[in-house]
Amino acid sequence: MTDESRFDAIIAADDKVEPGDWMPEGYRKTLIRQIAQHAHSEVIGMQPEGNWITRAPSLKRKAILIAKVQDEAGHGLYLYSAAETLGVSRHELVDLLHQGKQKYSSIFNYPTLNWADMGTIGWLVDGAAITNQVMLTRTSYGPYARAMHRICREESFHQRQGYELILTLMRGSEEQRQMAQDSMNRFWWPALMMFGPTDGDSPHTQQSMAWKIKRISNDDLRQKFVDATVPQAEFAGITIPDPDLRWNEERGHYDFGEIDWDEFWDVVGGNGPCNRERMDHKNKVWDDGAWVREAAVAYAAKQYARKSA
């Protein structure tokens, strides 16, 4: 059996490709790109939430938010680690992010303007992420699938705490309800954009699905998310800002309005409200933290010298 037919057989059998296996160069590059950008998203995703840690309204909410932000850092690490099994170093990938050569999810280029955003991010943004990630637990590359299993277990906490936060606000004062509604109004459409361009505008989807890296198309995932989220919004008494949103009996799904694709491409292209701020901050903390990395290496060298003395 040739390398290629062995690889094809693994994919056809719905088996997992593992790091030691031969794989087509395109498969390897697609995975590195996707896993790295996923990892970058986790890391940059700490910023909009980190913004509210010092202003959380109670000790309980503060502890929850810290735990959540710590999880995002952990998810970034799992993913870089999975990418490294493909013959790249984390160092290299982080450099690509710092130089702006690789991107992260555009959702993090929107600002977090009020406390309710901490709920909306958990409920809608993590909710959209989970829809995508549950699919990715079945991806064909073993280390990526295993990282996804670990992440999905933890994302459930993220989504539930977010929805509970919104429910709490919606049962509160008029001001609190308005705050939650304002947050929903700002995050609904960007959350739908997280699934990427429509299938027609996503030329790489077909190959990714043939390799079983992706198992469900962007549009199908988006529909799944809308169908799951509408009843949750109705229960909370919060309004989804889409006049075209309605149940379609015939399709058995919710119809929804057209996404503003100009805005989507604009933010992807670097012109979102916070693109600059996120990257400036990331580069700044990397530079500011240099002394910590150097100190850790100096300590390790000292320990080593002591041991071998």
Partner: protein
């Protein structure tokens, strides 16, 4: 958190793996979730030394009460064999005095390597050879890793409480902490 980042111009020009080395060394991390279970590979961490590697692995892979024991081993000290690439098997160039090697087996595709046991061998390939005979019979394994027992660093059992216990009372880290009405469906 996730995303679908669309392809942009210039994307396909990035050459991966051509970059200078840099950053801290990589360590493979292995977690025992409960007494009676084997140490299972949990992917890797970066750290300048074993002590920091253990702390980083604790923070990365044990943020919840999911483990009772943790090992790390330098990634470049792990010798790897896959059943689908038999040509990769090789001989030790210079056999050394017999020493102990830890053996980790991938039982089937999709599963992480699990600690299978330890054995005496005169080098990494001797260890793989022996491990394959013992652990990869009857199609029960698709990959073997061996690493010299001397290079595996375990979290001090005396410090287990300090390492793993602090997470026990952080019940807000679990989804079940949040009451979600049945009406809204699974979340």
């Amino acid at each position: 958190m996730s995303y679908e980042v669309p392809h942009m111009e210039g994307d396909d020009k990035i050459q991966f793996g051509s970059h200078r080395e840099g950053g801290w060394p990589r360590w493979e991390a292995f977690v025992r979730q409960r007494g009676g279970l084997a140490h299972i590979h949990s992917e890797s961490v970066h750290a300048p030394d074993a002590e920091t590697a253990l702390l980083n692995a604790r923070d990365a892979y044990l943020r919840r009460v999911e483990g009772v024991s943790l090992w790390v081993a330098p990634a470049d000290q792990v010798t790897r064999w896959e059943s689908d690439a038999p040509e990769a098997a090789s001989k030790d160039i210079a056999p050394r005095p017999s020493a102990l090697w830890e053996v980790f087996v991938r039982h089937r595709r999709g599963l992480a390597h699990a600690h299978a046991g330890s054995m005496a061998a005169t080098g990494p390939y001797d260890a793989i050879e022996k491990a394959r005979r013992v652990y990869v019979t009857h199609e029960e394994g698709v990959g073997v890793w061996v690493v010299s027992a001397a290079t595996v660093v375990a979290a001090d059992p005396e410090e287990a409480e300090a390492l793993f216990e602090p997470f026990a009372d952080k019940d807000y880290r679990y989804p079940t902490y949040y009451e979600i009405p049945d009406e809204v469906g699974h979340m």
